[in-house]
Amino acid sequence: MATNEIQENALNNMGVDKTPFAASMLFPLFRATLWGLTGYFAAAWITALLFHTVIVNPLPATVGYVVGLICWLMGSGVWEGWIRRAFGGKEAPTYTGIERYFRFGPDSKSTAVRYVVLNIVTFFLAGMAAMAIRIELLTPDSTSWWLSEIQYNQTFGIHGLMMLLGVVASAIVGGVGYYLIPLMLGTRNVVFPKLLGLSWWLLPPATFAVFMSPTIGGFQTGWWGYPPLAQNSGSGIVWYVLGAATILFASLLGAINIAGTMVYMRAKGMSLGRVPIFVWGLFAAATILVVESPATYTGALMDLSDMIAGSHFYTGPTGHPLAYLDQFWFLFHPEVYVFILPAFAIWLEILPAAAKRPLFARGWAIAGLVGVSMLGAMLGVHHYFTAVSDARMPIFMTITETVSIPTGFIYLSAIGTIWGGRLRINAAVLLVLMAMMNFLIGGLTGIFNADVPADLQLHNTYWVIAHFHYTMLGGVIFSWIAALYWWFPKVTGRKINEFWGKFHAWWFFVFFNCTFFPMFIAGIEGMNRRIAIYLPYLHDINLFMSISSFFLGAGFLIPLANLLYSWRYGPKAEANPWGSNGLEWQIKSPTPYVPYPAGTEPEVVGPNDNYAAEAKEPVIWVPTPSK
């Protein structure tokens, strides 16, 4: 396209650092690790000495974590890249070459790439925990050669927390969203680039702490951290709380950026009516974090305080554990919409370009995304119908069921877009279609959990495990992989291997369903969740699920290999391989460090989903107006 050529000329003179990779570029990573560990041990030791205790106790572990986190951040480049200036020093130069991937910095694209890497690593580690769970469940007894009950509980707690906060919370929002937001809105960067950079550097220590929690005693509570069990079953709970709070804080930094960028940084002509649907999805998710997370941090920190400071907010003879549930679920119910709304938006972003049709009923789709995020704020109580008084049941049942209406708009829009179109099905589109089918089951089975009479029986059984894996693994992870495939050329300039992409999609779909569909049945037959030992009458079905899950788990090596191999050797892609009208595809691929040359700005002159034969280009390039 002509626009690309215009840019190329200018870009070649932008003076971007072209130094090839050298091991010395990893220095900030090593320094951060060294400072972080030193800070951790020093602080934990000193605290232990002062309080006459050992470093694995809750208080030293807490102090060590906080100090270690700060030292890690300084080591990663926050010191010279940001803080030093506040003390009158000089700010580090802006890194524009490969170096920027390995240190703290304001470039949203390298931050997003780091998100992808972190999410993939975490997905594999938490996935191994899932395999460990399924190995334990191969037999009904306590499987003494494998995990003890204590270890089993730690394993599913780590699996759950890491899959949620370490993977799906940032997989699409972070890796895909932070990369695409500026490009889709027609700006060069997000509104608070350093905060966004910081958000990633918060994650590795938090994730590491959660995975390492067994070294200080682990935690038995699963990912909920309910008191008073939290306070009396292992010091590892402090790293659960701190890790979760840190990751949530990182999400909040991202959310501020999403909302701010969408409000303040849109290109000329990009009215709200023309904002790409994916950005609307991110925006809807961001509002949830901004509004709902504070109450939940507070709850988590009070849970911690009960552990380390001797308070009795939720514990002891005077505390109210139920108050914790209210605070915990105030964010953590809507948090599931933070996971799924961007996935919905991915479907609606990809389908029009694939079917060469405008997004059907776009207004309703946006109402769906925003509507879910708003209703979501009001219904956390549906997670503990078995704990609340009768009078609270109807209202939370009603609101929860209402969520199905805006959720339905997403399907309305998606089906209407495919209908009458010419859908080109590559691996990404196939995964989107599969995600729609899986999430449909996840959503429909959610109605059972919302319906109080049904839920009083199904709550805390494998029914629920099946339900949320259909939404998160079946919905979010399918969509995440689809998005990685679809925008792969944007980031790397190459295409993934379509054959292996589709092969794995089918593999994933089949073994996902074989693993998780039987869990609905196990739940109905009386298998409760979080048990290392179950009754022999449930053996056959568990054996089947476990064996399926091993195939499912092993299958993830295929997309991993595909992404890695294609990154180096995949077929070269044109700038706009899918013929999309999206603004992000109208610039060079891979995206240059500065997406548009100085002096040129995009101006949006039409909707980005008009594929009619005679349609105009949706964007023109204009000179930057002088201030």
């Binding site: 509980n153 554990p321 059907f360 209407g416 080109r424 319906d451 009083l456």
Partner: protein
């Protein structure tokens, strides 16, 4: 096929056929599944299972209608290959009859579900609880990791097996000595959390004789993670005739 000439009504007729076949297969499978439902050992279990099975019928129907439309249209309107980049002639951004039908159905189903099985089920459950004149009171104490049962009016204290008569509504008074637990007998179709510093009630009217040995669904099972003993925090259940219950009380009271 010439995209410009695509006849969307003809495509829709195909979808209707696809739906009918899908519904027939789906609901038949569901009928078979529901036919194999686990035992329902109390009035409450019937109420909650009615809710679940009703929603299952409905879920299958919606799955076929919506999922069927996704699969059918993806298949019917696929392009021959990725390089086939021609745009279809149909470029409408919306079509009111579809949107309105969707809206009406979504709101209608949603409202209907809130009433039935939601509120109707709750009303029935509450009705039993509030109507019961003379329930059998059983004090349940949960602690890591065992259950103990006392029958204050019968003078039976601290037994570790739950013995109850058939046909009488029981008021389980739930307390915990340590962390949260959850009192659940799968065959009775309901569970209730047991919460520190609070007293909770669960009303159950057993309708089926049996023991844990004859049917494992008839067991007390802690259903809220409470530490490493959680999976084994179970207790045997025995539902007996009123006469046998009297005899058991006579043997076990002081």
């Amino acid at each position: 096929m010439n995209a410009a000439k695509e006849n969307l009504w003809k495509a829709f007729r195909g979808l209707v056929v696809f739906w009918i076949i899908g519904l027939a297969i789906g609901e038949t499978l569901m009928a078979w599944g529901i036919g194999n439902w686990p035992i329902l050992g109390s009035i409450q279990a019937h109420i909650t299972a009615d809710a679940t099975t009703y929603l299952l019928w409905q879920a299958v129907a919606i799955y076929v209608l919506v999922g069927g439309a996704v699969v059918y249209s993806a298949f019917r309107f696929r392009a021959s290959s990725m390089s086939d980049t021609a745009a279809p002639a149909y470029q409408a951004r919306t079509w009111a009859p579809f949107v309105v039908t969707w809206l009406v159905l979504a709101i209608g189903i949603n409202l209907a579900n809130t009433i039935y099985p939601g509120m109707v089920g709750l009303e029935q459950l509450w009705g039993i609880q509030l109507d019961t004149k003379n329930p059998l009171v059983i004090d349940v104490t949960a602690q890591q990791w065992k259950w103990t049962f006392s029958y204050p009016k019968q003078g039976v204290t601290d037994v570790s097996q739950l013995v109850v008569p058939e046909g009488r509504t029981i008021d389980f008074v739930l307390r915990t000595k340590d962390v949260m637990h959850d009192f659940w007998v799968p065959a009775w179709g309901e569970k209730k959390d047991v919460i520190p510093n609070e007293v909770r009630h669960l009303f159950i009217t057993p309708t089926m004789l049996g023991t844990t040995a004859t049917n494992p669904m008839l067991r007390v099972q802690c259903s809220l993670i409470c530490g490493n003993g959680h999976p084994l925090m179970r207790a045997p259940v025995k539902v007996v005739t009123p006469a046998d219950f009297k005899a058991w009380v006579a043997n076990n009271s002081f």
